[in-house]
């Protein structure tokens, strides 16, 4: 879409767009280009000598068991966060949509975790799951589960998954509720008259009509689990115990700032960029299709 009415000026549009361009170039493109370039270099530990090695860093990376393990952790983590998070939010949204008169109250009561910083969410759950003083850990012990996320990798993973889902519930809930409320009531009434019960209506009408929202949220949640959960991992477990919760974005940070394995950290950044670009392209192709609806 283009405007018919425009203004003419030789310099003004450049001046208007300059601040955005300056920040984009200095803080986005320059670092990203450096990432690409440095990922092809090997540096000794003191930064004195560098050598151009083509794709050796990447070859090393995909032969490195620790990195492959981190890939697996990321896959399990993102899968659990996306699937469980979406299922719980969908259930709550469908029920809130049913009790239409009280929907607003439930919305208000479920909306606020959006405002909580991921790192703060992590600290709250860290406290609840703390093996000596956490209340949830205490309940779990009552059920005979020897709970200790500081030593047990699976327990630590469960803890960060719970924190990540908790933080994201309000976002998913809001979008699901909006999607449900935009489904024409006449379709559902027609099905009800034909004798379809609530479950059948959900399976055959509501869920298929909701699929654009679901797909959109699926991509958003995967991106969230890949990137934005950094704060949760860092504040709750620091990637441990061992490597049990070390997701890819955390490993970039750990190798670059703590391990000082620069070449590898740059190469990992490039791999993450490729994954993220793929996900964003998928997301936007879908948005284009939604416009035609």
């Amino acid at each position: 879409m283009e405007k018919r009415a425009r203004f003419e000026s030789r310099w003004l549009p450049y001046a208007l767009i300059a601040p955005q361009m300056a920040i984009t170039l200095v803080f986005f493109f320059l670092p990203a280009a450096q990432c690409l370039y440095q990922s092809l270099l090997v540096q000794d530990a003191f930064g004195n000598a560098t050598q151009f090695v083509w794709f050796e860093n990447f070859q090393d990376l995909f032969r490195n068991d620790e990195y492959l393990a981190s890939f697996r952790v990321t896959a399990v983590f993102s899968f659990l966060v996306a699937i469980l998070g979406l299922s719980i939010s969908l259930l709550l949204a469908v029920l809130a949509d049913r009790v239409i008169r009280s929907a607003t109250i439930y919305k208000t009561l479920l909306i606020w975790p959006y405002a909580v910083a991921p790192a703060v969410a992590a600290v709250l759950w860290l406290f609840l799951f703390n093996p000596t003083l956490g209340i949830v850990a205490h309940w779990l012990k009552g059920f005979g589960i020897p709970w200790d996320p500081l030593l047990n990798g699976t327990h630590a993973l469960v803890m960060v998954v719970v924190a990540a889902i908790w933080k994201q519930i309000s976002y998913n809930f809001l979008f699901f509720l909006a999607g449900l409320q935009s489904i024409p009531k006449s379709l559902i009434e027609a099905a009800a008259i034909d004798g379809a019960g609530p479950v059948k209506r959900f399976v055959t009408i509501v869920f298929p009509l909701l699929s654009p929202t679901t797909f959109f949220l699926l991509v958003v949640n995967i991106i969230y689990a890949f990137i934005e959960t950094f704060a949760i991992i860092d504040a709750a477990t620091g990637g441990g115990p061992g490597q049990a919760t070390q997701i890819l974005v955390y490993k970039v940070y750990a190798d670059g700032f703590k391990g000082l394995d620069l070449g590898s950290s740059y190469a990992q950044s490039v791999v993450l960029m490729v994954i993220l670009i793929t996900l964003t392209v998928v997301q936007f192709r879908y948005v284009e299709r939604k416009v035609q609806y």
């Binding site: 009415a5 208007l16 803080f27 049913r98 439930y106 709250l124 609840l128 609530p198 704060a231 993220l276």
Partner: protein, 283 residues
Amino acid sequence: MIENRPILTFFSHLILVIGVALVALPVYVTFVASSLAVDEVLQSPMPMLPGSHLIENYTKVLSQGASTNVTTAPVGHMMFNSLVSALVIAIGKITISLLSAFAIVYFRFRFRTLAFWMIFVTLMLPVEVRILPTFKVVSDLHMLDTYAGLTVPLIASATATFLFRQFFLTIPDELAEAARIDGAGPMRFFWDVVVPLSRPSIAALFLILFIFGWNQYLWPLLVTTDESMYTTVIGIKRMIAGGEAATEWNLVMATAMLAMLPPALLVLLTQKWFVKGLVDTEK
């Protein structure tokens, strides 16, 4: 309601109430913990009803910070840092996005498409995937431990630019033509027509961006080493870094409540605007 199924309605409410309770549980426990004395928090299980040290704990963290074992700046100062960075990030993002969207929509100039695509690509390059080189750029510019370092690198915004572009395209062409006939230049048109018309979008976006700025984690973690520059979220992380024995959980939890309060209040008080902002930015 399509049909009357009282049992199903009852179960709907039941599950929703359980859901709301589970979502609220961590914050309730945090609140209770923040009102206890340090030896009460260390009991297992800890009490589930608020104690009597509420005001004492909050005054202590606000004015002195936690704690005896790990030194941090007063939380009051951290909250000031959070407020400054959240405001600068939100206002900065809105300002430069308004200007660039105005340029892209109302002018035809060389490199217009290139500029548009460059802004788009920033969506795919969050700080998390280019940690080291971005840190290096900021450190070379001597912006570590400054408010500028905390905020400026986060100010570019593709989502805000697209949102404003989308909105500007819906402004009737007649308004721009009328302004031109009346002899108004582009900047006059921008201030007197475009900005006032954009006010609802600006308000909704401000809420989202303020929360985004307040809740930043990775970036302040990298660029602040001086404790007087810590934001509240980073402060909490530093308070628990001393290890199990050194952590005074009642004070940490009071700080966590203070970190949550401003953005949560903002969301609850402006719910309608907030939901609009959230849905619009994702379109």
